[in-house]
Amino acid sequence: METFRLRLHRFDPKHDSAPRYEEYEIESDGPLSVMQAICRVYDTVDGTLSLRNTDCRRGVCGICSMMIDGRRRLACTCVAQDGMTIGPPPNRKVIKDLVFEMD
């Protein structure tokens, strides 16, 4: 079992005055994509996390493009690493957590 700690962007415009990053810990017996890791946080640690999960999961649609450790990358093709920080692209209106307006 491998342990991943991920820092995920949280912001609920209804209750929060400013966004924050929260750390989560998940386990996996093999490599995960960042997308799979986010889904695992939502499934097993904190179901109040808002995420998008209607996209292609194979690098085609571009919907999952996010800031991953300071760089804009596709969450579905990027391999998750312990300690990663994941949030919305800059200058996007955040609807909640990891759900933000598309261009």
């Binding site: 996996s28 490599p31 799979q36 194979r58 690098g59 919907i63 609807i95 909640k96 598309m102």
Partner: protein
């Protein structure tokens, strides 16, 4: 309880290939169109992930090919159950559809003389017939459709889950929907409604589909009184990567490497096995035979460590692999798959052959309600031939759009039943109530997937199917009403979406299991271990599933016997 009401002549539900094609045509025919999609319009669904098959009988690779041969191949590939009228239409109108898509800005691969490059996918095609664009057809097709949508400025809303179809007497009158981003409930009044909601692969734990493929269109159409047909036929593929977990279920169309020196699939004992399972003895049989063969090897203990078998590129140089399958190779390599070593491949749920029973204009058995693409049934019968889906999606998308616009022009302004709207709003808001203490929606989805996998998958029998029906009844009676969401918030609450999806999936799973139990033979994608033979005397019949009240009923009918646009008894 409704937060906003929207009017449209033609409501298109689904933002994939079928939905966009229908919207463009309905707009061109003068209708006020609205496209709603659970995902981002034009960037969700399965069409964008389509890989290598688009069958149109241009006859470029072999001049003997033409629409009649394509028709004959398709009817044979459907094991006699496709609706011949529909097959005739999409095999003849395929060429015009390619022209349309190219006029919207796509360009498919051609040789130096300007002829389409056409390839053979498997032994079901008499001549090489599939046109191509690299190894991913879905992307250029969706790009072209998006461009045309934008050019026509067709109104659309992203991330809207349609949850119920509404009727004014016999006729369709609109829908209720949930806006994922805002949590608002919407009422749509529409003269025609086109369902283009895609497939239901998400009913299975390992699948090649996108997560929004939860079979919603079939569940919604059942609720509106429409017939579903051929629901027992779910295409399982043997072309999915099984390991690593990151890419489990992802398609790898290694068939294209077989004539380049790759080895045929082999089991853990190093033995090739496909020809043992194919009545014709082929090393590259139709797709559902792959699935059954791999399932058989795994069950006999001759599988790979992660529940598949092995594909070995053998002597094929890496450059050739990359050249034949560029984007697939790149995706697999990004997760560390070594394309020079044997790869574990196995079974994944891929395609719902059946769905909303449609006629030549894509009209269902309910006036004003259309079905397009994978959520429809009739064009493929007992097994969909590779590469026929894109053809059918685009041909019937266009037909539905035009017919729906024409009908809308003469239909009276619809009135939704306020009681129906209110009941639906209460149901949706009920999911957010805090008094529930059962499992989360994702847990219930897991149970549905396990049930489908264990009893309604590659190999079926009466005992297992009855067990599945018992499980679905229990899920419907006990699990769904107790389902508890992690958050009661309305904004961007994915648990809420999943709760609604789980309800639809339960209905669709039941429809599949009922049809599969009724069909006491094996044919195409449906294999009954307790009835292994194909029985043409008895079963050259379609099975229709209907909902009356809360109950589902199944009946068998002769092929192509429905009256469309008129609700049946």
């Amino acid at each position: 309880m409704i937060d906003a009401t929207i009017d449209a002549d033609v409501l298109v539900v689904g933002g994939g290939g079928g939905g966009l094609r229908a919207a463009i045509e309905a707009h061109a025919a003068g209708a006020r169109v609205l496209v709603l999609s659970k995902g981002i319009v034009g960037k969700s669904g399965l069409t964008q992930t389509a890989v290598t098959g688009f069958q149109v009988a241009f006859g470029c690779a072999d001049p003997r090919d033409n629409p009649s041969v394509h028709y004959a191949d398709t009817m044979r590939g459907s094991y006699g159950l496709a609706n011949p009228e529909l097959v005739d239409i999409f095999t003849r109108e395929g060429a015009a559809t390619v022209e349309d898509i190219e006029s919207f800005g796509a360009r498919f691969d051609r040789d130096d003389d300007g002829n389409f490059i056409q390839r053979r996918l498997d032994s079901s095609q008499t001549y090489p017939r599939s046109i191509k664009k690299g190894d991913s057809l879905g992307t250029p097709i969706m790009q072209a459709l998006r461009r045309q949508m934008n050019k026509c400025d067709i109104p659309r809303r992203h991330e809207i889950l349609v949850t119920k179809l509404l009727k004014d007497g016999n006729r369709i009158s609109g829908a209720v929907a949930l806006d994922f981003q805002t949590g608002e409930l919407l009422e749509i009044r529409a003269r025609s409604v086109i369902m283009a909601t895609g497939g239901g692969g998400e009913l299975f734990p390992v699948n090649s589909n996108t997560p929004d493929s939860t079979g919603d269109g079939c569940a919604l159409a059942l609720g509106a009184g429409a017939d579903l047909v051929d629901m027992e036929f779910i295409l399982m593929l043997g072309h999915a990567v099984m390991f690593p977990e990151t890419v489990r279920g992802v398609l790898f169309t290694f068939q294209y490497l077989l004539d380049k020196g790759a080895r045929a699939l082999f089991n853990a004992e190093g033995e090739p096995f496909l020809s043992r399972y194919d009545p014709e003895g082929s090393d590259n049989p139709p797709r559902h035979i792959y699935a059954r063969a791999i399932h058989g090897e795994v069950r006999a203990g001759r599988g790979s460590p992660h529940g598949g078998v092995f594909f070995d590129p053998g002597s094929v140089p890496l450059e050739t692999v990359v050249d034949a399958l560029p984007s697939q190779t790149q995706f697999l390599q990004s997760f560390g798959v070594d394309m020079r070593q044997p790869i574990e491949v196995g079974v994944a749920a891929h395609y719902f052959c059946g769905g909303i029973r449609i006629g030549p204009d894509s009209l269902s058995t309910v006036p004003g309600l259309y079905g397009v693409g994978e959520c429809s049934g009739g064009p493929h019968g007992a097994a969909r031939v590779g590469g026929n889906s894109l053809t059918e999606v685009l041909v019937f998308g266009k037909r539905a759009g035009r017919h729906a616009a024409e009908t809308a022009a003469t239909a009276n302004a619809p009135t939704n039943d306020p009681d129906e709207v209110e009941t639906e709003c209460r149901r949706l808001l009920g999911f957010l109530e805090g008094s529930r203490n059962g499992p989360r929606p994702s847990e219930i989805k897991k149970r549905i997937k396990q049930t489908m996998n264990d009893h309604v998958g590659v190999v079926r029998d009466a005992a297992g199917l009855k067990e599945a029906l018992d499980a679905f009844e229990e899920i419907a009676m006990r699990n769904l009403p107790a389902m508890a969401l992690a958050s009661p918030e309305r904004i961007a609450n994915y648990d809420w979406i999943q709760a609604i999806e789980a309800t639809s999936m339960t209905r669709v799973g039941e429809a599949v299991a009922r049809a599969a139990l009724m069909r006491t033979e094996s044919r195409g994608a449906h294999y009954r271990e307790d009835h292994p033979d194909q029985i043409d005397d008895e079963w050259l019949q379609n099975i229709v599933v209907r909902q009356r009240g809360k109950e589902l009923s199944v009946s068998s009918v002769p092929v192509n016997s429905a009256t469309y646009g008129e609700e049946t008894g």
